[in-house]
Amino acid sequence: MAIEIRPLEQFTIERLIPLHIGSVDVSYTNAAFLMTVAVVLITALIMLGTRKRALVPGRWQSLAEMSYEFVADMVETNVGHGGREFFPFVFTLFMFILFANFLGLIPYSYTVTSQIIVTFALAAVVFIGVTIVGIVKHGFHFLRLFVPQGVPAPLLLLLVPIELLSYCIRPFTLSIRLFANMLAGHTMLAIFGGFAASIGLLGIFPLGINILLVALEVLVAALQAYVFAILTCLYLSDAINLH
């Protein structure tokens, strides 16, 4: 009768193919599997969608074109013309997070983006990449980013550390936002699911809430991918359009 509710069980990583190189554990896990699925699906969507190259696009081509235009528009409005060369990066990032989030919503699958190490790795790539782009584009001048204009010298002593700190915090906010949203959402789904299973006929109420929650999670999944991509654009714009 008593059904145990373990809402955090869904986040455990299982080794599908145990693999060790030296003392390093490089096993192929369920998380790695879901990432592979995401990458394969994205590649299939783009490759198959653009294969026909019809003037009047069919369903798949429309989907591929829509995702292209959405991200291209985002890059154009937020970074400007200088950002065209970074479109592939932003597009890859957006599609990967979007697919990882959506795939995680399928029952019994796994949410890759609920692991902070995954989101932090993505955010760190963005952070380091943006810093390198800034330094390559502006050289030493890039450090001007941390020196506000038109401020008296004594105040700079206080403002430069604040600027530096707020810059260095970016990868953390970027990764924690995505990770926390996915973790919280999926935990909530599991808790209400557990209620529904354990209280019998009355379970229809938590089940109803769960249906609404799934709708909310779909929104969150898309929104978080969008926010991640748009923040990447804004950071890129900082590095490229330096004052």
Binding site: P148, V151, I162, S237, D238
Partner: protein, 123 residues
């Protein structure tokens, strides 16, 4: 007559493209309405976590510095306040749509660029 024939289709195509472009620019406001909601949603989700993470990360950094250099508790105290300031700054920037440092002015890339940032300050 027949010599001027070849460039003609190209010129017509150019005209067509120009017209389509103008049409697209004219249609922009209709699209902007939807993306305004998108941006509002994105912004709302964004700023919630900004302040908290800034404070937590800065305080953690202060704690680590104290451990390395044995300066307890000063590093943590100083960095806590710096973290609060940085978090506030980030939230303020997210809200005003200015994402660069304090003196930052987005360069005039045109109306398209300023449209993306929710609202530029006038100065």
């Amino acid at each position: 007559m027949s010599e001027s024939r070849p460039p003609d289709p190209l010129a017509r195509l150019g005209e067509k493209i120009d017209k389509a472009r103008a049409e697209r620019v004219r249609r922009q406001p209709a699209v902007g309405d939807r993306s305004a909601m998108q941006q509002g949603l994105g912004l709302g989700v964004r700023i919630g976590i900004e302040l908290v993470v800034a404070i937590v990360v800065a305080t953690g950094l202060g704690w680590a510095i104290d451990r390395w250099f044995g300066t307890r508790p000063w590093g943590m105290i100083v960095l806590f306040f710096l973290g609060v300031a940085a978090g506030m700054l980030n939230v303020y920037r997210a809200v005003t749509g200015v994402s660069g440092p304090v003196g930052y002015r987005p360069p005039d890339v045109g109306a398209a660029a300023s449209e993306g940032r929710s609202d530029d300050e006038d100065c």
